[in-house]
Amino acid sequence: MEALEMYTTDDRADVYTEELKLNLGPQHPSTHGVLRVELKMDGEIITSSRCDIGYLHRCAEKIGENVTYLQFTPYTDRMDYLSSMNNNLAWSLTVERLLGVKAPERAQWLRMICAELNRIASHLIAFGTYGIDIGANTPFFYAFRERESIMALLERPSGARMLYNYIQPGGLRRDVDERWADDVLAFCDEFERRWAEYNTLLTNNHIFIKRTANIGVIPQHMVFENGATGPVMRGSGIKWDLRRDVPYLEPYDAVDFDVPVGEGTHGTLGDCWDRYWVRMREMMESVRIIRQGCRALPGGDVMDKGMKRMYKTPLKPDPGEAYVRCENPRGELGFYVVSAGETSPLRCRARAPSFCNLSLLDKLLPGTMIADAVAIIGSLDIVLGEVDR
């Protein structure tokens, strides 16, 4: 790697040097949560790194064995708290598969729109915080301005700004109001304008490119060996998106959208800039999906009639198991549920995308400098709530 060649250590016998042990975190502005990375360093170069997770472990999966299927939905909100619509969706689809029911058509379309809006919101945070990690403090505020609009839009049907608990097994909690779809379309127009500005300010900035291109290159074999998914995988050129390849919602089949992949535009394929650019373009693809969704929104009920009783009587699925995976903003989220015929699951396990993506970190950091370490962690876009659950 470029860094290693430039900075080979001085092996003079008369100079005594010691390895520096540095802790990045758990209290650190750039570790995206409570993550501790033990670094061993030679001057500015990292020689080895070890991730220490578990600071945010809240026993969600164990709690899942003691609450009902419906009651677990808010817990899924809080795993990856930045994309809670998507988490709710994955969980609801899993329970629906276990029960053998399907949400009505309108609910499916609205689910898709809400999931894509949440994808934009989540990628906006990734964009804003990545700017701060690299040193540009301003794009964060612009990103949050857009995020404010999304949160106001999603607050109207669900009642909350971030932990929505809106997509529930069987459909949705309630229908959206009459003007919601028009307001969403208005937001899409506004967002397109702003997206162009983000690119002028950060994406095409020479300093930003120099800080992120050729850094943290993830070759394709490493992606497969470590189970990395989402923009991390697509940044390395692998064109795989569950929305297109394993559509878990019927409307994803009906709408047109591209799957952006990294192309090594400014450096090696699979560097930080590629992953960042994949996220930026995914925001635009989500806008496309939302526009088509709002225009094609069918009428009807938003909750399966048979499932409406689940609020009063807890669900009791027949014994069995189900695994459903969805394309979260961070990668592939999967829920594996085993039912023994009781009101609570026997086991509910979450396959969190950030957990698998984070396992790449210990392999990517050695040989880089601390400034690059921050850039690499930011480009993986992890949320510790999901890593630790």
Binding site: L70, P74, A152, N165, R174, D177, T200
Partner: protein, 190 residues
């Protein structure tokens, strides 16, 4: 010679992207209005579906405990003695240290007596004060009162008005609510 070209393109890209970026920030400095809402002097409009503090229509409640069973964190405690068809209430509290505002207590109610309002200003420096006794107060803002009386409509109501509402009256939640209750009582009797 490639590195010479790279050298000059670095200069050009560096200067060019910097100037373009500065154009964006200058545009924001001069013509974009700040989006900060100066809370608590101003507030954002809150939609009617907002999941805030609960209210209970005590007269309607039949002590069925369906809301308490639906709660994922078991934060609702209810106690009442039945005398035939009437109830002697002892306790109906929600522990807001535990409540996650998920709204699962609302749909099971068979008589539609428990609701969530737009009240969210819960901050207190007394942790015991976080256990709210729903029997002695019903946290109300004018729009919540109207919603209760069916004026604003139920599910699927339109977006909230654009006018930002200042918190009704001063003081904390309890005194605001006590004032509203007294007013309601006076109206009923008068």
């Amino acid at each position: 010679m490639g590195s010479v070209r790279e050298y000059f393109s670095n200069i050009a890209n560096g200067l060019g992207s910097t100037v373009k970026g500065m154009g964006v920030t200058l545009r924001h400095f001069t013509s974009e209005p700040p989006i900060t809402v100066q809370y608590p002097r101003e507030t954002k409009p809150i939609p009617p579906t907002y999941r805030g503090l609960h209210i209970l229509e005590q007269d309607k409640c039949i002590d069925c405990h369906l809301c308490a069973k639906a709660c994922p964190v078991d934060c609702i405690e209810i106690e009442a003695t039945h005398h035939g068809r009437t109830l002697d209430w002892h306790k109906f509290t929600i522990d807001y240290k535990k409540c996650i505002f998920c709204e699962f207590c609302i749909p099971p109610c068979p008589v539609d007596c428990i609701h969530m309002t737009s009240e969210f200003e819960l901050a207190t420096d007394d942790p015991n004060g976080m256990v709210e006794d729903l029997l002695t107060w019903t946290g109300l803002r004018p729009e919540d009162q109207a919603k209760l009386e069916g004026k604003a409509g139920g599910k699927g109501a339109g977006a909230a008005e654009a006018k930002p509402a200042a918190p009704a009256g001063g003081g904390d939640v309890r005194s605001r609510v006590a004032a509203m209750l007294a007013k309601k009582k006076a109206e009923k009797e008068g």
